[in-house]
């Protein structure tokens, strides 16, 4: 097993490179992704190596980035669109919801909507407004789309390749605050299927589920809790839509307690969905209601106070305490 250590940013870069080497129909398109390599340098060097026809610097219009990727998909190309920041995906919302999500169906399967929309999402980098949002629920809600998120370099490396190979359109959410953290990457074998939830840490008292940047925060909370003899099982959802409920059900049946962590606000969120589904399926096992730890119901705040907006170790542990204390 050839493993190597790299950042998530590099893992994505390598994953994209490998996908482009494998399949000549794979294109990249986005704002500033060429010479600049993207504002996060995820596509660094790829235009130099694959040319301007395959790594396409886009005029500044997100609806057009996605809309032309649809046309390219119809022509048999696989385009990986880079949305520069989460808050700039909304101009493309119409194309995503009305076309990307529905054209396979509308054409009775004639069109393959093989395209990936990469979105650096969630906060934590001290950015100004519109650069720290968590729009995943908008897409999770939309039939016809799939939504995934990576939380480690290894996942990033493999999931981006799996997403590009997949025939359905995929919203690929990258936790930008983790881009520069390093981890082991296995260059030979993908660790999991693209749509698998994964238990990141076993535990017996409470199940805590999250995705993207939250996973590491939850793991930290689990460390702290362990010091107090509280055993947290940590699940990385990875696939936000569809949810891989199997491992989650198994866990909740074991622990009887559930906390879901996300940076998006509560209302009609992925967290609400996880709680609802698991409550329906594990009703008799649950010894307390499932609780969400989320961003507050406000526009993402100025980043000097973003740490108080985003779920942190304290808030997660507080929620854990609440579900633990429910019966006592």
């Amino acid at each position: 097993m050839a493993t190597t250590t790299m950042t998530m940013a590099k893992a994505l870069n390598d994953g994209l490179r490998r996908a482009m080497e494998k399949n000549k129909k794979v294109l990249l398109m986005g704002e500033d992704i060429g010479k600049l390599g993207g504002v996060f340098r995820i596509t660094d060097g790829l235009q130099k190596d694959f040319g301007e026809d395959r790594v396409i610097d886009a005029p500044l219009a997100e609806s057009a980035i996605v809309g032309t990727a649809v046309g390219l998909a119809i022509r048999g190309y696989r385009t990986v669109c880079e949305i520069q920041f989460d808050g700039f995906v909304y101009p493309a919302f119409d194309q995503i919801v009305s076309q990307v999500a529905k054209l396979h169906k509308r054409s009775d399967g004639s069109y393959t909507m093989g395209l990936v929309i990469r979105i650096p999402f969630q906060g934590g980098i001290g950015a100004i407004e519109h650069h720290s949002e968590s729009p995943e629920a908008y897409f999770a809600q939309t039939a016809g789309l799939r939504v995934v998120s990576c939380s480690t370099p290894n996942d990033a490396y493999w999931m981006i390749q799996q997403a590009i190979e997949h025939d359905d359109p995929i919203i690929f959410c990258e936790p930008k605050s983790r881009y520069w953290e390093k981890g082991e990457v296995d260059l030979d074998t993908p660790p999991h299927g693209l749509f698998d939830a994964v238990v990141r840490r076993e535990g017996s008292d409470v199940t805590v589920i999250g995705y993207g940047s939250s996973v590491k925060t939850i793991l930290r909370a689990a460390d702290t809790a362990a010091a107090e003899n509280l055993s947290i099982e940590v699940i990385d959802a990875r696939s936000i839509a569809p949810l891989d409920l199997g491992p989650m059900i198994k866990s909740v049946e074991k622990t009887g307690r559930l906390v879901v962590v996300q940076e998006a606000p509560n209302t009609a969120s992925v967290g609400s969905e996880i709680v609802t589904e698991l409550t329906e399926r594990c009703f008799y096992s649950l010894r307390a209601p499932g609780i969400r730890v989320s961003g507050y119901h406000v526009p993402y705040p100025p980043s000097r106070i973003e740490d108080e907006y985003r779920p942190n170790v304290d808030r997660i542990l507080d929620a854990v305490d609440r579900v633990m204390g429910f019966e006592s």
Binding site: L27, D53, I56, P59, A61, S63, A64, V66, G67, T68, A69, V70, G71, L72, A73, I74, R75, G76, Y77, P91, D94, Q95, S98, Q99, K102, L103, H104, K105, R106, S107, D108, G109, S110, Y111, T112, M113, A143, G144, R146, H166, D167, D168, P242, L245
Partner: protein, 355 residues
């Protein structure tokens, strides 16, 4: 309609006029072919309208008045070209070989599409105004990357020309010099909205500001539309980049069968345009210049009747789809919520689950 900027080769009376840049080199048989197409499409439209009145269709979007625009353009296409229509391009679909009954599936509310777009190289209808213009540009960028000598054409209305997606598609087509022809049917109305609200100046001029040529053509003159479109498509195929064609025409009927145009437009306007009927003028040319006879036209009428009869039969035979088909082709790969939905539908007895 006396307009220097308007390319016209045939007057409303069916007389030829010369134009410095465009001339038609078509022979009588070819022109008769256009007549036939237009007559059949009109018949298809009338039959569909009556099917709708009889409760057999949920809706119909009439194309009457725009036959020359669509046949002139549709017949300029090469087989390998690809087209991205809006919802009113029955004439284009006809030229692409889409079976008439397939065109009606969406209007019988048994499908959201109706035909195999890859087979006919004609995309499924796009109902959200303007979305398809970007698809066309993207497809054209694919053509470029394949090094293919193919053109792409997309269709939208005067109303849709105000949508951001159409305007962004102009930016992109120019930036990438994409082999795409934008075909805007300015039929003067977007439901009740007059085209003057979308633009105070002729729409075709918009292209120039984006860096590519725009042409206004008499959309009721099949010969002019044909020449203008042929030239634009050839130019695109040879790497000359995009063109915007504004086909100046008129929506003779209602927006759709749900619409009541008497609420917003006056009869006199419709009357004026009746004299510019696209079929009459070419018929007149065929009679006077090429000596076609009543019999010849009657034969087309008969052919159209046969088509209409078959269309009616086909439509009436289109049963209600099994509800479980709503789960087909949502995803290309298995999906748990699709499986769950299918299972529920079978358990509830809503569907036998046969497929």
């Amino acid at each position: 309609m006396i307009d220097e900027e308007l390319v016209q080769l045939l007057t409303p009376e069916g007389e030829r006029v010369s134009h410095p840049d465009y001339q038609s080199t078509l022979g009588g048989d070819e022109i008769f072919g256009f007549f036939r197409d237009m007559a059949i499409v009109r018949r298809l439209c009338n039959e569909s309208t009556s099917l709708q009145r009889q409760g057999q269709l949920a809706l119909w979007a009439p194309v009457q008045g725009q036959e020359a625009a669509q046949i002139g353009a549709g017949r300029a296409l090469a087989p390998m070209d690809f087209t991205f229509p809006s919802y009113r391009e029955h004439g284009i679909a006809w030229c692409r070989g889409v079976p008439p009954e397939d065109m009606l599936r969406i209007f019988r509310a048994v499908s959201n599409g109706g035909w195999d777009p890859q087979k006919y190289r004609h995309s499924v209808p796009t109902v959200v105004l303007g979305n398809q213009a970007l698809h066309a540009v993207g497809y054209a960028m694919g053509v470029q990357r394949d090094g293919a000598e193919e053109a792409v054409m997309t269709f939208f209305g005067d109303g849709a020309s105000s949508q951001g997606d159409v305007l962004e598609s102009f930016v992109w087509a120019a930036s990438f010099n994409a082999p795409v022809v934008f075909f805007c049917q300015n039929n003067q109305w977007g439901i009740s909205t007059p085209s003057s609200l979308q633009s105070k100046v002729p729409l075709f001029r918009r292209a120039r500001g984006f860096g590519f040529p725009g042409v206004r053509v008499d959309g009721n003159d099949v010969l002019a539309v044909h020449e203008v479109t042929k030239r634009a498509l050839e130019n695109a195929r040879l790497g000359g980049g995009p063109t915007l064609i504004e086909a100046y025409t008129y929506r003779m009927g209602a927006h759709t069968t749900s619409d009541d145009p008497t609420r917003y437009r006056i009869d006199a306007e419709v009357e004026v345009w009746k004299h510019r009927d696209p079929i009459e003028r070419v018929k007149s040319l065929l009679v006077h210049e090429y000596g076609f006879k009543t019999k010849d036209f009657d034969e087309v009428g008969d052919e159209a009747d046969v088509m209409a009869l078959k269309l009616r039969e086909d439509v009436l035979a289109m049963g209600r789809p099994d509800p479980i088909t709503m789960f087909d082709d949502v995803y290309a790969a298995p999906h748990p919520l699709i499986d769950e939905g299918r299972r529920e539908m079978i358990e509830l007895g809503i569907s036998g689950g046969s497929r």
